[in-house]
Symmetry: C2
Subunit: 212 residues, 2 copies
Amino acid sequence: MSSTPAFRRLPRAVREQQMLDAAVRAFSRRGFHAASMDEIAEDAGISKPMVYAYLGTKEELFVACLHREGTRMVEAIAAAAAPDLPADERLWRGLRAFFGFVGAHRDGWIVLYRQARGEQPFAGELATMRSRLVEVVAGMLDDALRAQGREVRETDLEVIAYALVGATESLGDWLADHPEADPAKTATRMMNIAWLGADQLLRGETWRPTGE
Amino acid sequence: MSSTPAFRRLPRAVREQQMLDAAVRAFSRRGFHAASMDEIAEDAGISKPMVYAYLGTKEELFVACLHREGTRMVEAIAAAAAPDLPADERLWRGLRAFFGFVGAHRDGWIVLYRQARGEQPFAGELATMRSRLVEVVAGMLDDALRAQGREVRETDLEVIAYALVGATESLGDWLADHPEADPAKTATRMMNIAWLGADQLLRGETWRPTGE
């Protein structure tokens, strides 16, 4: 890139990121319906017509926020959970990347987890992203089982994966409300909860109700 | 109550429940914003002015739905998890009551879990209900520990409780999308995931990353 004097107009891509930053902040704090294009434009230091020209309607802006934050989150997790490591290491690295994302992008997490859910048509996009995470986790558990020469039914893997993803999201949301908590320590806590349980399950141990 | 001929006008309480049933169905399928008072009145077989007269605005009707479904769910769980049983039995009975609620009140669950989240001011009510569940689960784990003469820090209990509640909600949502799945069997599956993990944690076992 050529060197540019400080007063030169910012490139479009940089401006767009500033608008998205402002939009994520506004949607996180006030929700999709209450957040206004006026406050987003003002926070980004850009005129409202330019926000519309660059990123479209409020709906399109919200979708752009979901895409950016969701992609950041999923890519961070996928990059961390390298497939050549043992299953527990992969799971822990994935968890560390996830909690790292929540710690560093608290507003992004809140838009994804609290504000987009229940909002048609955004809820569908979120459900798709979540299904992808569930598949990744189920695949990781399947690899761990196959490495031990074992196999469990696909439904059982899916159920365990749903539970792990739900537990992790819930703790991610806890972290978003506890900025003083350490993301890496939270990952180790979640790993203790997830793995000590999954490890026994994968070894075929089961809990049974008594007296029923 | 005096015996009433079949053609007599229904008592107010019965009509209100019919309106709430229709409202829960509409909010579950279409969300708060898209659902209309017209379709709710039509589904309940009641005139729209009467819906307004009995249950107020659409916002008030939505809150009434949240209260009814949330109270049903929390009371079912609290009644099942009798305090004089061992911790694993209490947890399992609580889980069975929870998945039983989701199986029997699928629309109610969807309104609570998918439609109310992110909708101000309803999100606050949901967060309060969720905190109550987290407290109940943390208290149950604390009882189990004290019965073994052990104690862990309140934050650790809270973190485990958040993870368990999140895992259970996630699997409840899976059940809502799988009407062919058995609620009691889903409870046992969740118990296996939750308890085999929690049991080791409560015995003081921990997972540690290697090579870090």
